[in-house]
Subunit: 296 residues, 2 copies
Amino acid sequence: MDIRLYLDRKREEVDRFLDSVVPDTKLAPTTLHEAIRYSLFAGGKRIRPILAIAAAEAVRTPPQAILPVASSLELIHTYSLIHDDLPAMDNDDYRRGKLTNHKVYGEAMAILAGDALLTLAFDLCSNSDLVKGLDPVRQVQLIHELAVGAGNLGMVGGQVLDIQAENKDIDLATLQTIHKHKTGMLIRAAVRMGAIVSSATPAQLDDLSGYAEDVGLAFQIADDVLNVTGTREELGKNPNTDVQRGKKTYPTFYGVEGARGLAEQCTKRAISRLERFDVKADPLRALAEYITARRS
Amino acid sequence: MDIRLYLDRKREEVDRFLDSVVPDTKLAPTTLHEAIRYSLFAGGKRIRPILAIAAAEAVRTPPQAILPVASSLELIHTYSLIHDDLPAMDNDDYRRGKLTNHKVYGEAMAILAGDALLTLAFDLCSNSDLVKGLDPVRQVQLIHELAVGAGNLGMVGGQVLDIQAENKDIDLATLQTIHKHKTGMLIRAAVRMGAIVSSATPAQLDDLSGYAEDVGLAFQIADDVLNVTGTREELGKNPNTDVQRGKKTYPTFYGVEGARGLAEQCTKRAISRLERFDVKADPLRALAEYITARRS
């Protein structure tokens, strides 16, 4: 299958949906909505929503509810980038080739835009007009997956561990724990949420969760490698920031080639988790390959 | 009725429940959970949870689900205080007589503790083990109330307007819009969420929403008055900060006595909205009086 075509098509669907539900910049408070849209439509690849959609499609043709559910993941992801970039956190000036949110709107607005995006994710998932035709028991389950993946034992917890590890001599196990939480838990939530929308059986949900864990790890290793090997143009931000910040990453432990090999192993293992799925899981398989091979 | 006894009893219930569901400080990431608990158990009055409980009781004896639902409001309120106190926002060093979160744990951890608390609120409301025996349609509705009350068109939106109004010559209508969103929308959500837990009829929900709007306004006016008249001991923070920041408040427009009179009018109107409720709404009536008369 042509994964680039698939990615383009799904990204457009998600973008169109997000554009239709996120308040436009004419609605008060206008600056807040400008700040939200500035980062939300900054050229994100929509990997998490697309993983959710592809997981849902692996089970069956998903109901319309997949779009709000998948899009809520991008709201969470975007808020996390805005807050991560703040001076008190990573203090980044550029993201995806554009000035970071706080560089344009100021720190206070960036904090609030992040808070609003995080809240909007739950607004979207609990909006009964948007999430139509879904069993409300499943809808509650989805919201819980999102909260757990994004929260203190998920993404936020990982961000805390990541900050605490800067300039420290951490071991590989600690690095894995950081990544598992910071990136892995939201990717896992994405895949599981897609599966839940499509009423996956417990066995299917298990297989897809395993897939998500391996893909999440591959994703993070690939990110670490790109931070070393990517150019400013490819990354849309300065390369090699991890080394500059004294951050230990997969290349620190395995070298660039070793880390690449590890990412490929994760990809293979992810794909092997899909054995019991038919061709409908081909986008998920291609996504696993794409995530390791991408250049940005 | 003895409103102080009622407040004490309910506050203890909410505190006990929060203590049982919020990760303890031994669980990793330990510093995150310390920072969360530092602000969550800093002596808050639990007004929002208690409003939710009292609204639920006004309709009928509420199911057990009222505790997680009511407590989620305190998680949202606490996150908003942590983020509001940040140097980029109000830059406050003290809150409830204690150093603010970022003064103890640093800015990065305070931002993340706020993010985690916000997410945890939705975790709590969507946790099916905690929210037992509630129709899942209502559970989704509750989550949506919380998201709308806390989000870009609710509390966060109000905070944006508040920041934008500093040192500006705003009129009374603008002040009202700020308050309606910054404080009013979450109080409204609290009362409505309580009513929804108790399966209120649409007419009851309407009456209670009206009550909440008046109580929210009374609450904010009383807060503005306290900022002028309260002592450092009563407030647990420096008094008169609004004037120092060039913030226009109700006393700016009406004087202290005028503002007090206005708060009392709101209280009376709030109580009149409960005409169709019997003695079960007495705590709500007493709460409306308490909110205007409180000294801290």
